[in-house]
């Protein structure tokens, strides 16, 4: 399956946007871990802005950066959202409420507890009625999203946006499912090269034993292993380097996803 990358959005610990982050990922600048800074979403109407949680703002911010780079209209572009846990704060709050005698669940919290909340807010914010799917594949959520997005691009022959995001759970869930600092990535994937496309990606599913691609910088490697969405970092580093290369992402049931990256300009 081949797709071209036309726009990238990135937010993570010490990675404030693709433009700022690519020099770090290319190894030209040192990686300095720092809290993820998520800007308030200007895309949302005020009522929705108040209701939207951190993961929604994270997804919208990286989606917006990627679309701006691609120069495309999000209202005309289908989306694939993928996340291991979506809004962990809400799961915690609802479970806490249900453990009380009154069980007064907040209607807004319940509404936002669905795994596809980010997709819902994105569609409201961008006025997009295009198809959208919301996936989960535990630690392989980014790989699953990449595969689904590439399949859509290959079959439908149209641009599709991938948005992958994850945030840490509060305690006590954090102990059961540790996830490191907020991380979001968005890729605009298209079926044929354009003046704005930066690379081609050829994806292949494999079941033979293959070693997951690691990052040279130990700080980045730790960030990548700590958050399901940050498992995209080896692919992003390959895109940042701008040189041809092959990376291997762990998938499910002992399989992996092999991505051959060919820079386009």
């Amino acid at each position: 399956m081949r797709a071209y990358i036309e726009g990238i959005g990135l937010l993570g610990p010490g990675l404030s946007g693709w433009q700022a982050g690519r020099a770090v990922l290319a190894g030209a600048e040192p990686y300095r871990p720092a809290r993820t800074v998520i800007p308030p979403s200007e895309l949302l109407p005020p009522a929705e802005r108040r209701r939207a949680g951190i993961p929604v703002r994270l997804a919208l911010a990286v989606g917006r950066e990627a679309f701006a780079a691609a120069g495309r209209d999000p209202a005309l572009t289908p989306t694939v959202f993928t996340s291991s846990s979506s809004d962990g704060e809400i799961l915690h709050e609802i479970c806490e409420t249900l453990a009380t005698a009154e069980r007064e669940v907040s209607p807004t919290k319940f509404m936002n507890s669905v795994h596809n909340a980010a997709a819902g807010y994105w569609s409201i914010a961008t006025r997009s009625r295009e198809p959208s799917t919301s996936l989960c594949c535990f630690d392989a959520s980014f790989a699953a999203g990449l595969l689904e997005c590439a399949a859509q691009v290959a079959v439908e022959r149209r641009p599709v946006a991938l948005v992958s995001y994850d945030e840490p759970y509060p305690e006590p869930l954090h102990a059961a499912r540790p996830i490191a600092g907020e991380f979001g990535v968005a890729l605009i994937m298209i079926p044929a090269e354009t003046p704005r496309s930066v690379a081609a990606i050829d994806l292949e599913l494999g079941s033979a034993v293959a070693l997951e691609t690691r990052l040279a910088d130990p700080g980045l490697e730790a960030a990548g292993q700590g958050n399901p969405a940050a498992r995209s970092l080896p692919l992003l580093a390959a895109l940042a380097r701008g040189s041809a290369g092959e990376i291997v992402l762990k998938y499910v049931a002992g399989t992996h996803l092999r991505a051959r990256v060919t820079p386009w300009r």
Binding site: M1, T82, S84, S85, L91, I94, C95, E96, T97, L98, A99, R103, E104, V105, P107, F110, M111, N112, S113, V114, H115, N116, A117, A119, G120, Y121, S123, I124, R127, S128, R129, E130, P131, T133, S134, L135, C136, C137, F138, A140, S141, A144, L147, E148, A150, A151, A154, V155, E156, E171, P172, L173, A175, A176, R177, L205, S207, V252, A253, T255
Partner: protein
């Protein structure tokens, strides 16, 4: 899209385990809804619960995955000879060439709800034995099903609220078309839990009586639980002659509100139009519409407006949620299987509990189950976040 054969399918819900039990209930227009006695829920509402779960055990070796949703899923994998059919397909295609695309809205969230009642005093930590990965994460259901069936093809969970298990048909069709797999298991499960019971009540969407889709007195939903699966394959020689066929998938987003539908059903209409276009069919080719029909005043009105605009007032339509309840993440596969039964057995399912159709709604609403030639069905599933999906299912012999 390239039509796909549904060579095997299975279903479990409050009407029974297996297609025969569900078909009997549909023929008799019987409902499986009962007053809610689920767990410690103190809510005046009716639910469609699956009996026998307390004594049901997940297969040995998969004990970590034990939770209500995975139990229901295993029940459906064992119904209708489904897992045997998958084993045969696995020998034919190879275990790595069969995809597993599963939908759910809550997976085993009940396990987290129960664990939060048993937090350690002081530290607040969760009790030992809490298995997040195997029960609470949305992918736990897909992981469980993949392991149960021994499949290693591409896999993920779609969780887009109440459209989840309709949308997986689209994921599977794309993956097969892209060559990532040759066949796919689709479907999913959802079980009753306190999050949805108290959550829907907080939005004032649960009825105090059995839900009455399209009724003039409809006042909310009845929650249900269940599971269903379908094995999708490219048309091939030797497949059963009466296998139903997936002809089209249409997906859209409302871009309107997180929990309320667009008043004129604009997103719903777009999903139905796209499903027809994907099947290369027109509205006149559809003999029956299985509505999403949740029985809230606004949902049914919006869907009715969209259906009438696209199909006019003649196409028979009904919601089967008065019989099954609203299975949330499992509603799509449940109603897809009911649509397959409608095609295979030539019946228009009635609408249990609906007495008097709202005169403001203009669809040709079917109250009593009756026999009819059903060549093709369109089935709707709409969810929170404005996530819409319509499927077209038909008689393979005509395509």
């Amino acid at each position: 899209m390239q039509p796909l054969l549904v060579t095997h399918f299975s279903i479990v819900n409050c009407l029974g385990a297996g297609t025969a039990a569900v078909l009997d209930a549909l023929r008799a227009n019987r409902s499986g809804l009962t007053p809610c006695e689920f767990e410690t829920a103190a809510i005046d509402t009716w639910v469609g619960s699956v009996p026998g779960l307390e004594a049901f055990a997940v297969r040995r070796g998969l004990e970590d995955y034990d939770c209500r949703t995975n139990r229901i899923a295993q029940m459906a994998l064992e119904a209708d000879g489904f897992s045997d059919a998958v084993a045969a397909a696995s020998r034919r295609y190879g275990a790595d060439r069969i995809g597993v695309f599963i939908g759910t809205s809550t997976a085993g969230i009940l396990e987290a709800e129960l664990a939060y009642r048993r937090r350690a005093p002081g530290s607040g930590s969760l009790p030992g034995g809490f298995r997040y990965h195997a029960t609470v994460n949305a992918y736990s259901l897909g992981d469980f099903i993949g392991r149960y069936l021994g499949l290693t093809g591409p896999s993920f969970v779609v969780s887009s609220a109440c459209s989840s298990t309709a949308k997986v048909f689209g994921n599977a069709a794309r993956m097969i078309a892209a060559g990532a797999c040759d066949a796919a298991v689709v479907g999913g499960a959802d079980s009753l839990c306190l999050t949805t019971l108290y959550g829907f009540r907080s939005l004032e969407l649960t009825s105090r009586r059995p839900c009455r889709p399209f009724d003039r007195e409809r006042d909310g939903i009845s929650l249900g639980e269940g599971a269903g699966f379908a094995l999708l394959e490219k048309p091939r020689a030797g497949a059963s002659a009466d296998a139903p066929m997936l002809l089209g998938v249409g997906e859209s987003s409302d871009a309107y509100h997180m929990s309320a539908p667009h008043p004129q059903g604009a997103g719903a209409k777009l999903a139905m139009q796209r499903a027809l276009a994907s099947a290369r069919l027109g509205a006149a080719d559809i003999d029956y519409i299985n509505l999403h029909g949740t029985a809230t005043p606004t949902n049914d009105a919006a869907e009715d407006a969209a259906v009438v605009e696209l199909f006019g007032r003649k196409t028979p339509a009904s919601s089967t949620k008065g019989a099954t309840g609203h299975l949330c993440g499992a509603a799509g596969i449940t109603e897809a299987v009911i649509s397959m039964l409608a095609v295979r057995h030539g019946l228009l399912p009635g609408s249990a509990h609906t007495r008097s159709v709202d005169p403001a709604l203009k669809s040709n609403y079917v109250l009593e189950t009756r026999e009819a030639r059903v060549r093709r069905v369109l089935t709707n599933s709409f969810g929170f976040g404005g996530s819409n999906c319509s499927l077209v299912i038909g008689d393979a012999r005509l395509h």
